[in-house]
């Protein structure tokens, strides 16, 4: 403790970078905010469930995706077990988007960005955008007729906007690599940041309290 306080009693920055990082975590991310056991009484609406079920669906997308990527992109076309895991992946993605859109609309009508929460909203929109891209590369990686048709049509949009010069939807290897590696990592990291922001800033109060907090 002596290393962190001056003789006048004011807090002093420790020399150790490790201690500085730990203290920053203690200040900004205390465990009772990250994992609270009490919430404001107004957090009782079903709308709050849309966020957690979106995370739950993402967990199933990742689990089923890891199994599919471990076994390789051809596996599910020839194996009943593989087809089941592909179906689990497919429907988890559908549920993920369904819940995420409900969560987005719920947060919009709650104006969830108020009182210092704009970054949380903006990161949420970026997560939605990257999720769309991840799903798109997934549809292109299916190795079936839908993949062929989507690739042939999507190339014109990508090329017309100049994106196709670097993001070739006809190149299975590029799309598959992005789908199973880079884009999921991006979504996961941003979701973690999104959740940490929600937990550290707390749940926004209802609109127009008219008389202050209750």
């Amino acid at each position: 403790m002596a290393a962190t306080s001056s003789v006048r009693g004011a807090p002093e920055k420790p020399a150790s970078w490790t201690l500085r990082l730990r203290h920053a975590f203690d200040r900004h991310l205390p465990m009772d905010h990250l994992l609270p056991d009490r919430q404001p009484y107004y957090v009782g609406s079903w709308v709050y469930v849309f966020g957690v079920v979106t995370i739950a669906a993402l967990a199933w997308v990742v689990v089923s995706g890891v199994v599919l990527s471990f076994m390789g992109p051809q596996w599910w076309h020839d194996s009943r077990v593989g087809l089941f895991f592909n179906s689990l992946h497919f429907w988890s993605v559908q549920l993920f988007f369904f819940f995420m859109v409900l969560h987005l609309w719920g947060q919009y009508f709650m104006a969830g960005w108020r009182q210092g929460r704009a970054a949380t909203w903006m990161i949420g929109v970026v997560i939605f955008g990257i999720s769309v891209l991840t799903a798109f590369t997934g549809y292109l990686s299916q190795q079936n007729f839908a993949s062929q048709f989507i690739a042939i049509n999507a190339k014109d949009a990508m090329n017309g906007a100049g994106i196709g010069a670097f993001f070739n939807v006809l190149n299975f290897g590029q799309m598959y690599g992005l789908h199973v590696m880079l884009l999921p990592i991006g979504v996961t990291i941003l979701v973690v940041i999104h959740i940490v922001l929600v937990r550290t800033r707390g749940v926004v109060k209802p609109i127009d309290p008219e008389g202050g907090a209750r």
């Binding site: 056991d37 798109f136 800033r201 209802p206």
Partner: protein, 328 residues
């Protein structure tokens, strides 16, 4: 300066009634519940997997379309042959006024459809095939006028071609070496050889299907199957999936723009029309996505939730006592 979040949150909640809440239990229940739902739907409904179209299937099922497309590649009349960047310099690509990103980045995936889809595969197939080797030499030694004349006559003849035992038969005419070249290309394609020749590109391992997909995209066979499966652009294109399965329904807004003015019009307005719809719609969607991200800072958009009292339904527990006290 950012205030410590701990102090901020405690200050923020000061005076607010707090109730017990088991966050971890909620998450575990959500994971179990959503997992059960996903497993149930997956087990009952499975997932779409209509097999891919191969060049072999195309050449076997619709040899006339295959040969017509291959001839079109030589004539430079297909979509790929006149595409432009990033494949070649044959077309200008899409632009909107000075905005021409397709052209800015140039030819980054070079493909010469005539050579890549027809001549080079035939050169590989001509190994130990003297008749094909001679036909190829005749073609390559012919003047461009001569080649055009052969192609013009052959393409016209293909319009009334028939199929006999998988081969394309045209009326007698002066087509130069084209019938030999095309019957060999068709034979290679029907055997499955062209599927491999278009991806191998001098390497053994291959994951890039740009060439075969562009070639198939130039023909009418794959597009016809997509049309029968109601997957085409006029029916909301990429949102759809084969069978009765949901596709990328979250692309509804992006896909919708293709159905409305000016993106479905040949004339359009302020330079935006069907010809540069892809570029226009990508720009529009980028702006709309940016607007969604910036909603907290955009007047009207950020005020709509206050005007439409859906929040009173969401937080009805919060607002209910207030109403009750107002009545008393």
């Amino acid at each position: 300066m950012i205030k410590p979040m701990g102090a901020t949150q405690e200050e923020y909640y000061r005076g607010v009634r707090m109730v017990p809440y088991d966050l971890v239990k909620e998450l575990v229940l959500a994971i179990v519940g959503v997992g059960m739902l996903a497993v149930l739907i997956a087990a009952v409904l499975s997932s779409p997997d209509v097999g891919p179209v191969t060049i072999a299937t195309w050449a076997q099922q619709d040899p006339v379309d295959f040969v017509t497309t291959a001839s079109g590649e030589l004539a430079g009349s297909t979509t790929s042959a006149g595409y432009g960047a990033p494949y070649n310099s044959a077309g200008d690509g899409q632009s909107w006024g000075p905005i021409a990103p397709q052209k800015w980045f140039g030819v980054r995936i070079p493909i010469d459809p005539a050579n890549s889809f027809v001549i080079q595969p035939l050169q590989r197939a001509s190994f130990s095939n003297t008749a094909l080797g001679t036909a190829l030499s005749t073609w390559q030694n012919g003047s461009s006028d001569q080649q055009s004349s052969w192609l013009d006559a052959y393409t016209k003849a293909l319009a009334s071609a028939t199929v006999t035992d998988g081969s394309v038969v045209v009326a007698t005419g002066d087509y130069g070496p084209l019938p030999v070249m095309m019957s060999n290309l068709l034979g290679v394609a029907q055997s499955g050889g062209l599927d491999g020749l278009l991806v191998i590109n001098g390497r053994f391992y291959q994951t890039d299907y740009t060439q075969p997909l562009l070639f198939m995209g130039d023909g009418g066979y794959l597009a016809g199957i997509a049309d029968e499966a109601h997957l085409t652009g006029s029916l909301w294109g990429m949102m759809n999936e084969t069978g009765s399965y949901p596709g990328q329904t979250w692309l509804w807004l992006y896909t919708m723009w293709y159905q409305v003015f000016p993106f479905n019009s040949d004339t359009g307005i302020i330079g935006l029309n069907a010809g540069n719809a892809d570029l226009g719609i990508i720009i529009l969607m980028t702006l709309l996505t940016a607007a969604l991200a910036l909603v907290p800072f955009i007047p009207i958009l950020r005020d709509i939730p206050r005007w439409i009292p859906i929040h009173r339904l969401i937080w009805r527990q919060y607002y209910a006592p207030r109403k009750a006290s107002a009545h008393t």
